[in-house]
Amino acid sequence: MDYSEAPLPIIFNEVTKHVDLPDEELTPSRAKEVQELNSLYRDLVALNADVPPPPNQINGRLNDQVRKLKDAGNNSYKRGQHSDAVRMYSLAIEMALKRPPWEASGFVKEELSVLYSNRAQAYMSMSAWGDALVDGDTAIYLKRNFPKAHYRKGKCLQHMGRLQEAKAAYELGLESGGADGSDAELKSALAEVNELLYL
């Protein structure tokens, strides 16, 4: 390799347990890299193994904690305590993001998409259409073939009077190829918005 320059004066600080680079050597990209490195080091120290396991090995303890918070959110929602439900789903999202970054991103996406979609539903029950719209959209970003999330996104848009966008959301939901029993809802919503648009 073409690495022939003098090594960087990077130092491991025994007290703070992270590495530092003197200011005069610090470019913006190096600063970001040092920060990422220190964060990865903390994850590795917390790991009970010498190197990261293969990506498909998922931390089971975190799984349980995320599931518990999600269940608490679902229960609050069923009791009609919608803002509590939002809080629980937010905590579950935070917990899910604590996963070490080397774990399978496919699993993380699946887990998070359900949480965002559920939070969207809770926001909708509070008529917080803007917040719900972004959550629905995020759920779709995480999992494209997720008809229920498309349906919720469409409903938010429809409530805010953005009928063309709502129509597009329902149509995408029907085309998305997922199967979670939302097709009937999507079809009737599409018929409804078509009527509103063309009457």
Binding site: S29, L40, V51, L97, G130, Y141, G161
Partner: protein, 203 residues
């Protein structure tokens, strides 16, 4: 006569071979000089520099896991670069074939591929030195780090996007409400006017 006929082909061969050798050395030297002058495809490889610097350090001693983290960061950047090369290769190759992209850019691209091949080999070698057979899972782990950091970047935008959507909807709602009120007002004044008219007609 016999002497000339014996040495002539040998002299010819010597002349031919030496001129070919001269041509080839000059040609190669020029090529190397051209390649050296080429701008690298990617910028600084910060995580590789950091890893090598940490590895070279003897006092204070850098913890084993910090070295591993640094190597994982290096592999992460390698994966990102390999992905970027793979993504741009088909389009770039076609543009180069059509003449829309010059030879220099194409040479730089091919050089970057070679550099990355060597970099991957070196990184894998380092991993196996730290722990036998780690290279087999190092790059899969690094690939997930790339994906996961993309996801986190997108999710970090959610609160800001929600604020925007809330404000947008609030504005629309206020507008619609004030329009409705105006309509109600005019409707109310209209009905009052009608009542007044009726009264007048009665009288």
């Amino acid at each position: 006569m016999g002497k000339i006929s014996l040495y002539a082909p040998i002299a010819y061969l010597v002349l031919l071979l030496s001129s070919l050798a001269l041509f080839s050395t000059i040609y190669r030297r020029r090529k190397v000089r051209r390649l050296v002058g080429l701008q690298p495809w990617f910028g600084e490889h910060d995580s590789r520099d950091i890893y090598l610097s940490l590895r070279a350090q003897t006092s204070p001693k850098v913890p084993e896991k910090m070295l591993k983290a640094a190597l994982l960061r290096r592999a992460t950047e390698d994966v990102r670069r390999i992905m970027s090369l793979q993504e741009s290769k088909p389009a770039l190759a076609e543009l180069h074939q059509r003449g829309a992209v010059g030879d220099e850019i194409w040479t730089r691209f091919l050089a970057a591929e070679k550099v990355m091949d060597a970099e991957i080999m070196e990184c894998a070698g380092e991993a196996n030195l730290i722990k036998p057979a780690w290279a087999q899972t190092l790059f899969p782990s690094a690939a997930e780090i790339v994906q996961n950091s993309r996801i986190r970047e997108r999710l970090a935008q959610v609160p800001e996007l929600q604020k925007e959507e809330r404000e947008k909807w609030e504005k629309v709602r206020e507008k619609v409400l004030s329009e409705l009120e105006n309509e109600n007002d005019t409707a109310a004044t209209e009905t009052e006017a009608k009542k007044a008219n009726k009264k007048r007609n009665k009288h």
